[in-house]
Symmetry: C2
Subunit: 191 residues, 2 copies
DNA sequence: TCGCATTTGTGATGTTTGTCACGCATTTTT
DNA sequence: AAAAATGCGTGACAAACATCACAAATGCGA
Protein backbone atom coordinates (compact mmCIF):
# COMPACT_ATOMS: atom_id res chain seq x y z
CA UNK A 1 0.00 0.00 0.00
CA UNK A 2 1.16 3.50 -0.92
CA UNK A 3 0.94 6.45 1.43
CA UNK A 4 1.62 9.68 -0.42
CA UNK A 5 1.51 11.77 2.76
CA UNK A 6 4.17 9.64 4.34
CA UNK A 7 6.30 9.86 1.24
CA UNK A 8 6.05 13.65 1.34
CA UNK A 9 7.36 13.82 4.89
CA UNK A 10 9.96 11.18 4.20
CA UNK A 11 11.35 13.05 1.21
CA UNK A 12 11.24 16.29 3.14
CA UNK A 13 13.30 14.86 5.99
CA UNK A 14 15.70 12.66 4.07
CA UNK A 15 16.55 15.56 1.77
CA UNK A 16 18.43 16.99 4.78
CA UNK A 17 19.29 13.85 6.77
CA UNK A 18 19.17 10.31 5.34
CA UNK A 19 17.01 7.68 7.07
CA UNK A 20 16.31 4.06 6.23
CA UNK A 21 12.71 2.88 5.81
CA UNK A 22 12.83 1.24 9.22
CA UNK A 23 14.15 4.38 10.87
CA UNK A 24 11.55 6.49 9.14
CA UNK A 25 8.76 4.16 10.24
CA UNK A 26 9.95 4.54 13.80
CA UNK A 27 10.17 8.32 13.73
CA UNK A 28 6.80 8.56 11.98
CA UNK A 29 5.22 6.75 14.92
CA UNK A 30 5.91 9.87 16.98
CA UNK A 31 3.62 11.95 14.76
CA UNK A 32 -0.13 12.15 14.39
CA UNK A 33 -1.93 12.76 11.14
CA UNK A 34 -4.70 15.36 11.28
CA UNK A 35 -7.06 17.16 8.91
CA UNK A 36 -8.56 20.61 9.33
CA UNK A 37 -11.14 22.63 7.45
CA UNK A 38 -10.79 26.17 6.19
CA UNK A 39 -11.07 28.68 9.06
CA UNK A 40 -10.40 26.03 11.73
CA UNK A 41 -8.04 27.06 14.51
CA UNK A 42 -5.12 24.70 15.01
CA UNK A 43 -3.70 26.89 17.74
CA UNK A 44 -5.86 29.44 19.50
CA UNK A 45 -4.51 32.48 21.33
CA UNK A 46 -4.67 31.98 25.09
CA UNK A 47 -4.83 28.17 24.90
CA UNK A 48 -2.13 25.55 25.42
CA UNK A 49 0.18 24.72 22.54
CA UNK A 50 0.74 21.00 22.63
CA UNK A 51 2.04 20.44 19.14
CA UNK A 52 4.29 21.52 16.36
CA UNK A 53 2.96 20.98 12.83
CA UNK A 54 4.33 19.86 9.49
CA UNK A 55 2.06 20.99 6.65
CA UNK A 56 1.37 18.21 4.16
CA UNK A 57 -1.04 20.27 2.10
CA UNK A 58 -3.11 23.41 2.46
CA UNK A 59 -2.25 26.82 3.85
CA UNK A 60 -2.05 28.31 7.35
CA UNK A 61 -1.55 31.73 8.83
CA UNK A 62 0.28 32.43 12.08
CA UNK A 63 -1.50 35.49 13.42
CA UNK A 64 -1.06 37.93 16.27
CA UNK A 65 -4.12 39.96 17.25
CA UNK A 66 -3.27 43.29 18.82
CA UNK A 67 -5.19 45.31 21.40
CA UNK A 68 -7.00 47.31 18.68
CA UNK A 69 -8.39 44.17 17.07
CA UNK A 70 -6.01 44.29 14.12
CA UNK A 71 -4.50 41.05 12.90
CA UNK A 72 -0.81 40.81 12.06
CA UNK A 73 0.50 37.84 10.11
CA UNK A 74 3.85 36.55 11.30
CA UNK A 75 4.00 33.89 8.61
CA UNK A 76 2.14 31.88 6.06
CA UNK A 77 2.77 28.16 6.41
CA UNK A 78 2.50 26.28 3.15
CA UNK A 79 3.27 22.76 2.05
CA UNK A 80 6.49 21.45 3.67
CA UNK A 81 6.59 24.15 6.34
CA UNK A 82 6.89 23.52 10.06
CA UNK A 83 4.85 25.87 12.19
CA UNK A 84 3.72 26.51 15.74
CA UNK A 85 3.72 29.24 18.33
CA UNK A 86 7.25 28.13 19.13
CA UNK A 87 7.67 30.18 22.26
CA UNK A 88 4.52 28.73 23.80
CA UNK A 89 5.37 25.26 22.51
CA UNK A 90 8.88 25.04 23.92
CA UNK A 91 8.13 26.88 27.14
CA UNK A 92 4.74 25.29 27.73
CA UNK A 93 2.95 28.59 28.10
CA UNK A 94 -0.32 29.84 26.63
CA UNK A 95 -0.34 30.83 22.97
CA UNK A 96 0.17 34.50 22.17
CA UNK A 97 -0.63 33.82 18.52
CA UNK A 98 -3.18 31.79 16.61
CA UNK A 99 -2.56 29.27 13.85
CA UNK A 100 -5.56 29.20 11.54
CA UNK A 101 -6.40 27.48 8.27
CA UNK A 102 -6.73 29.65 5.16
CA UNK A 103 -7.51 26.50 3.18
CA UNK A 104 -8.42 22.92 4.09
CA UNK A 105 -5.17 21.61 5.52
CA UNK A 106 -3.52 18.30 6.32
CA UNK A 107 -0.70 18.11 8.84
CA UNK A 108 1.51 15.82 10.83
CA UNK A 109 1.68 16.96 14.43
CA UNK A 110 4.25 16.12 17.08
CA UNK A 111 3.87 16.76 20.79
CA UNK A 112 6.70 18.36 22.75
CA UNK A 113 7.09 15.13 24.67
CA UNK A 114 7.58 13.18 21.48
CA UNK A 115 9.78 15.90 20.04
CA UNK A 116 12.13 15.55 23.00
CA UNK A 117 11.87 11.78 23.04
CA UNK A 118 12.65 11.56 19.36
CA UNK A 119 15.58 13.96 19.70
CA UNK A 120 17.10 11.75 22.38
CA UNK A 121 16.39 8.43 20.70
CA UNK A 122 17.54 9.48 17.25
CA UNK A 123 20.47 11.91 17.16
CA UNK A 124 19.96 12.21 13.41
CA UNK A 125 16.50 13.57 14.04
CA UNK A 126 17.88 16.19 16.39
CA UNK A 127 20.26 17.09 13.58
CA UNK A 128 17.27 17.50 11.26
CA UNK A 129 15.44 19.74 13.72
CA UNK A 130 18.60 21.80 14.14
CA UNK A 131 18.92 22.36 10.41
CA UNK A 132 15.26 23.32 10.16
CA UNK A 133 15.63 25.73 13.04
CA UNK A 134 18.62 27.34 11.38
CA UNK A 135 16.70 27.96 8.18
CA UNK A 136 13.76 29.33 10.13
CA UNK A 137 16.04 31.74 11.95
CA UNK A 138 17.67 32.85 8.72
CA UNK A 139 14.29 33.34 7.05
CA UNK A 140 13.15 35.53 9.95
CA UNK A 141 16.30 37.62 9.73
CA UNK A 142 15.66 38.20 6.05
CA UNK A 143 12.15 39.35 6.85
CA UNK A 144 13.59 41.78 9.44
CA UNK A 145 16.00 43.03 6.80
CA UNK A 146 13.16 43.69 4.39
CA UNK A 147 11.50 45.89 7.02
CA UNK A 148 14.75 47.76 7.60
CA UNK A 149 15.77 48.28 3.99
CA UNK A 150 12.52 48.50 2.03
CA UNK A 151 9.37 50.55 1.90
CA UNK A 152 5.88 49.16 1.35
CA UNK A 153 6.14 49.02 -2.44
CA UNK A 154 9.49 47.28 -2.38
CA UNK A 155 8.32 44.71 0.18
CA UNK A 156 5.26 44.10 -1.97
CA UNK A 157 7.39 43.50 -5.07
CA UNK A 158 9.77 41.22 -3.17
CA UNK A 159 6.89 39.08 -1.94
CA UNK A 160 5.36 38.98 -5.41
CA UNK A 161 8.66 37.71 -6.74
CA UNK A 162 9.39 35.25 -3.94
CA UNK A 163 5.91 33.82 -3.39
CA UNK A 164 3.88 34.50 -6.54
CA UNK A 165 1.52 31.62 -5.71
CA UNK A 166 0.45 33.37 -2.53
CA UNK A 167 -1.23 36.14 -4.53
CA UNK A 168 -3.59 33.63 -6.09
CA UNK A 169 -4.35 31.81 -2.85
CA UNK A 170 -4.97 34.50 -0.24
CA UNK A 171 -7.03 37.71 -0.17
CA UNK A 172 -5.14 40.98 -0.37
CA UNK A 173 -6.24 41.88 3.13
CA UNK A 174 -4.09 39.05 4.47
CA UNK A 175 -1.13 39.98 2.30
CA UNK A 176 -1.39 43.51 3.70
CA UNK A 177 -1.42 42.10 7.26
CA UNK A 178 1.74 40.19 6.38
CA UNK A 179 3.52 43.07 4.68
CA UNK A 180 2.71 45.53 7.44
CA UNK A 181 0.70 48.00 5.34
CA UNK A 182 -2.95 48.91 5.25
CA UNK A 183 -5.25 47.14 2.84
CA UNK A 184 -5.86 50.39 0.96
CA UNK A 185 -2.18 51.16 0.51
CA UNK A 186 -1.54 47.65 -0.81
CA UNK A 187 -4.40 48.05 -3.25
CA UNK A 188 -2.89 51.27 -4.58
CA UNK A 189 0.56 49.68 -4.85
CA UNK A 190 -0.69 46.88 -7.04
CA UNK A 191 -2.49 49.12 -9.51
CA UNK B 1 44.58 28.46 37.76
CA UNK B 2 41.31 30.29 37.20
CA UNK B 3 39.96 31.18 33.78
CA UNK B 4 37.05 33.56 34.10
CA UNK B 5 36.31 33.50 30.36
CA UNK B 6 36.02 29.76 30.41
CA UNK B 7 33.75 29.92 33.42
CA UNK B 8 31.48 32.33 31.58
CA UNK B 9 31.05 30.00 28.63
CA UNK B 10 30.71 27.00 30.90
CA UNK B 11 27.93 28.58 32.90
CA UNK B 12 26.26 29.79 29.76
CA UNK B 13 26.19 26.28 28.29
CA UNK B 14 25.49 24.25 31.40
CA UNK B 15 22.55 26.48 32.24
CA UNK B 16 20.80 24.81 29.31
CA UNK B 17 22.56 21.43 29.15
CA UNK B 18 24.69 19.96 31.95
CA UNK B 19 28.32 18.99 31.25
CA UNK B 20 31.03 17.60 33.48
CA UNK B 21 34.38 19.39 33.73
CA UNK B 22 35.96 16.76 31.50
CA UNK B 23 33.26 17.10 28.90
CA UNK B 24 33.50 20.87 28.99
CA UNK B 25 37.26 20.75 28.57
CA UNK B 26 36.77 18.60 25.50
CA UNK B 27 34.16 20.84 23.91
CA UNK B 28 36.18 23.95 24.70
CA UNK B 29 39.05 22.53 22.68
CA UNK B 30 36.88 23.08 19.59
CA UNK B 31 36.83 26.83 20.19
CA UNK B 32 39.39 29.55 19.73
CA UNK B 33 39.74 32.56 21.97
CA UNK B 34 40.12 35.90 20.17
CA UNK B 35 40.28 39.58 21.00
CA UNK B 36 39.22 42.47 18.81
CA UNK B 37 39.47 46.24 19.07
CA UNK B 38 36.68 48.77 18.64
CA UNK B 39 35.76 49.17 14.94
CA UNK B 40 37.48 45.91 13.94
CA UNK B 41 35.58 43.77 11.47
CA UNK B 42 35.05 40.20 12.63
CA UNK B 43 33.07 39.38 9.51
CA UNK B 44 33.34 41.54 6.43
CA UNK B 45 30.72 41.71 3.70
CA UNK B 46 31.86 39.81 0.59
CA UNK B 47 34.38 37.67 2.47
CA UNK B 48 34.20 34.08 3.66
CA UNK B 49 32.51 33.38 6.99
CA UNK B 50 34.51 30.69 8.68
CA UNK B 51 33.31 31.09 12.22
CA UNK B 52 30.41 31.54 14.58
CA UNK B 53 31.10 33.66 17.67
CA UNK B 54 30.21 33.59 21.34
CA UNK B 55 30.63 37.03 22.90
CA UNK B 56 32.50 36.91 26.21
CA UNK B 57 32.58 40.67 26.66
CA UNK B 58 32.12 43.76 24.53
CA UNK B 59 29.51 44.67 21.95
CA UNK B 60 29.05 43.87 18.26
CA UNK B 61 26.72 44.97 15.50
CA UNK B 62 25.51 42.75 12.67
CA UNK B 63 25.10 45.17 9.78
CA UNK B 64 23.70 45.08 6.29
CA UNK B 65 24.83 47.87 3.95
CA UNK B 66 22.32 48.66 1.23
CA UNK B 67 22.91 49.95 -2.29
CA UNK B 68 22.46 53.58 -1.16
CA UNK B 69 25.22 53.29 1.42
CA UNK B 70 22.85 53.16 4.38
CA UNK B 71 23.61 50.77 7.18
CA UNK B 72 20.89 48.59 8.70
CA UNK B 73 21.48 46.81 11.98
CA UNK B 74 20.07 43.31 12.13
CA UNK B 75 21.18 42.80 15.69
CA UNK B 76 23.40 43.93 18.52
CA UNK B 77 25.42 41.07 20.01
CA UNK B 78 26.24 41.58 23.65
CA UNK B 79 27.75 39.41 26.33
CA UNK B 80 26.51 35.79 26.11
CA UNK B 81 25.18 36.17 22.58
CA UNK B 82 26.04 33.92 19.65
CA UNK B 83 26.41 35.71 16.36
CA UNK B 84 27.49 35.24 12.77
CA UNK B 85 26.19 35.75 9.26
CA UNK B 86 24.45 32.42 9.72
CA UNK B 87 23.38 31.99 6.13
CA UNK B 88 26.91 32.45 4.87
CA UNK B 89 28.32 30.36 7.72
CA UNK B 90 26.13 27.30 7.22
CA UNK B 91 26.05 27.48 3.45
CA UNK B 92 29.70 28.42 3.02
CA UNK B 93 28.95 31.44 0.89
CA UNK B 94 30.29 34.99 1.02
CA UNK B 95 29.00 37.25 3.76
CA UNK B 96 26.09 39.53 2.89
CA UNK B 97 26.47 41.28 6.24
CA UNK B 98 29.32 42.55 8.37
CA UNK B 99 29.98 41.85 12.03
CA UNK B 100 31.82 44.78 13.55
CA UNK B 101 32.95 45.78 17.03
CA UNK B 102 31.24 48.71 18.70
CA UNK B 103 33.50 48.19 21.71
CA UNK B 104 36.65 46.18 22.35
CA UNK B 105 35.38 42.62 22.29
CA UNK B 106 36.45 39.15 23.38
CA UNK B 107 34.95 36.07 21.78
CA UNK B 108 35.16 32.34 21.47
CA UNK B 109 34.94 31.32 17.84
CA UNK B 110 34.05 27.95 16.39
CA UNK B 111 34.61 26.91 12.78
CA UNK B 112 31.84 25.18 10.86
CA UNK B 113 34.01 22.08 10.70
CA UNK B 114 34.33 22.00 14.47
CA UNK B 115 30.68 22.88 14.88
CA UNK B 116 29.70 19.80 12.89
CA UNK B 117 32.37 17.65 14.51
CA UNK B 118 31.24 18.67 17.97
CA UNK B 119 27.59 18.08 17.13
CA UNK B 120 28.38 14.53 16.05
CA UNK B 121 30.75 13.73 18.90
CA UNK B 122 28.59 15.17 21.65
CA UNK B 123 24.83 14.80 21.16
CA UNK B 124 24.34 16.99 24.21
CA UNK B 125 26.13 19.79 22.42
CA UNK B 126 23.83 19.44 19.44
CA UNK B 127 21.00 19.72 21.91
CA UNK B 128 22.50 22.95 23.22
CA UNK B 129 22.84 24.40 19.72
CA UNK B 130 19.25 23.42 19.00
CA UNK B 131 17.98 25.24 22.07
CA UNK B 132 20.01 28.32 21.19
CA UNK B 133 18.70 28.26 17.65
CA UNK B 134 15.13 28.05 18.93
CA UNK B 135 15.57 31.12 21.08
CA UNK B 136 17.21 32.99 18.23
CA UNK B 137 14.31 32.17 15.97
CA UNK B 138 11.77 33.24 18.59
CA UNK B 139 13.64 36.50 19.20
CA UNK B 140 13.60 37.26 15.48
CA UNK B 141 9.87 36.61 15.30
CA UNK B 142 9.30 39.04 18.14
CA UNK B 143 11.29 41.65 16.27
CA UNK B 144 9.12 41.05 13.18
CA UNK B 145 6.05 41.44 15.35
CA UNK B 146 7.29 44.78 16.64
CA UNK B 147 7.56 46.02 13.05
CA UNK B 148 4.05 44.79 12.28
CA UNK B 149 2.32 46.08 15.38
CA UNK B 150 4.22 49.20 16.37
CA UNK B 151 5.20 52.57 14.97
CA UNK B 152 8.58 54.23 15.46
CA UNK B 153 7.79 55.72 18.87
CA UNK B 154 6.44 52.44 20.22
CA UNK B 155 9.42 50.47 18.95
CA UNK B 156 11.71 53.05 20.54
CA UNK B 157 9.95 52.71 23.90
CA UNK B 158 10.01 48.93 23.71
CA UNK B 159 13.74 48.90 23.09
CA UNK B 160 14.29 51.40 25.87
CA UNK B 161 12.44 49.09 28.23
CA UNK B 162 14.00 45.83 27.05
CA UNK B 163 17.60 46.95 26.58
CA UNK B 164 18.10 50.10 28.66
CA UNK B 165 21.86 49.48 28.82
CA UNK B 166 22.09 49.80 25.05
CA UNK B 167 21.18 53.49 25.24
CA UNK B 168 24.26 54.18 27.32
CA UNK B 169 26.59 52.11 25.17
CA UNK B 170 25.79 52.98 21.56
CA UNK B 171 25.25 56.25 19.67
CA UNK B 172 21.70 57.14 18.72
CA UNK B 173 22.59 56.82 15.05
CA UNK B 174 23.06 53.07 15.54
CA UNK B 175 19.88 52.71 17.55
CA UNK B 176 18.04 54.41 14.68
CA UNK B 177 19.61 51.96 12.20
CA UNK B 178 18.36 49.13 14.41
CA UNK B 179 14.86 50.50 14.91
CA UNK B 180 14.38 51.27 11.24
CA UNK B 181 13.91 55.04 11.58
CA UNK B 182 16.00 58.00 10.56
CA UNK B 183 18.43 59.51 13.04
CA UNK B 184 16.43 62.74 13.06
CA UNK B 185 13.12 61.04 13.79
CA UNK B 186 14.66 59.08 16.66
CA UNK B 187 16.08 62.30 18.03
CA UNK B 188 12.64 63.90 17.99
CA UNK B 189 11.06 60.84 19.62
CA UNK B 190 13.39 60.93 22.56
CA UNK B 191 12.87 64.60 23.33
C1' DT C 1 -31.25 31.70 -7.63
C1' DC C 2 -31.56 35.10 -4.36
C1' DG C 3 -29.45 37.51 -0.54
C1' DC C 4 -25.70 38.61 2.22
C1' DA C 5 -21.04 38.74 3.52
C1' DT C 6 -16.51 39.30 1.69
C1' DT C 7 -13.29 41.37 -1.28
C1' DT C 8 -11.44 45.12 -3.77
C1' DG C 9 -10.70 49.76 -5.69
C1' DT C 10 -10.54 54.71 -5.08
C1' DG C 11 -11.17 59.62 -3.43
C1' DA C 12 -10.29 63.00 0.32
C1' DT C 13 -7.76 64.14 4.18
C1' DG C 14 -4.59 63.95 8.17
C1' DT C 15 -0.61 61.91 10.44
C1' DT C 16 3.81 59.97 10.46
C1' DT C 17 8.20 59.79 8.88
C1' DG C 18 12.16 60.96 5.69
C1' DT C 19 15.25 64.36 3.69
C1' DC C 20 17.99 68.40 3.49
C1' DA C 21 20.09 72.01 5.87
C1' DC C 22 22.35 74.06 9.62
C1' DG C 23 24.69 74.93 14.17
C1' DC C 24 27.01 73.45 18.04
C1' DA C 25 29.23 70.25 21.30
C1' DT C 26 32.19 66.37 21.89
C1' DT C 27 35.62 63.21 20.62
C1' DT C 28 39.50 61.67 18.00
C1' DT C 29 43.56 62.32 15.31
C1' DT C 30 47.73 64.41 13.98
C1' DA D 1 46.86 72.64 20.31
C1' DA D 2 44.81 72.63 15.99
C1' DA D 3 42.17 70.15 12.76
C1' DA D 4 39.02 66.76 11.49
C1' DA D 5 35.47 63.66 12.30
C1' DT D 6 31.54 62.32 14.85
C1' DG D 7 27.31 62.94 17.51
C1' DC D 8 23.12 65.26 18.38
C1' DG D 9 19.33 68.45 18.11
C1' DT D 10 16.07 71.17 15.31
C1' DG D 11 13.56 73.82 11.56
C1' DA D 12 11.29 73.55 6.96
C1' DC D 13 9.46 70.93 3.61
C1' DA D 14 8.24 66.67 0.87
C1' DA D 15 6.99 61.95 0.53
C1' DA D 16 4.92 57.85 2.34
C1' DC D 17 1.35 55.86 4.51
C1' DA D 18 -3.05 55.42 7.45
C1' DT D 19 -7.74 56.33 8.02
C1' DC D 20 -12.49 57.11 6.81
C1' DA D 21 -15.99 56.81 3.50
C1' DC D 22 -18.29 54.80 -0.23
C1' DA D 23 -19.29 51.95 -4.36
C1' DA D 24 -18.73 48.09 -7.31
C1' DA D 25 -17.65 43.27 -7.92
C1' DT D 26 -17.28 38.67 -6.38
C1' DG D 27 -18.26 34.47 -3.97
C1' DC D 28 -20.93 31.56 -1.20
C1' DG D 29 -24.69 29.61 1.62
C1' DA D 30 -29.83 29.01 2.35
Amino acid sequence: MYYPMQEKLKEHITKLVPFSNEEFGFLLSHFEHKKYKKNDFIIKEGKDVNNCYYVISGLLKLVFNDANGKQHIVSFAMEDWWESDFFAYFNQTKAKMSLQCIEDTEVYSISLKNYNKLSLEMPKMERFFLKKSHSGHIASQNRILSFLTSNAKERYLQLLQQQPLLFQRVPKTLLAAYLGVSRETLSRLSS
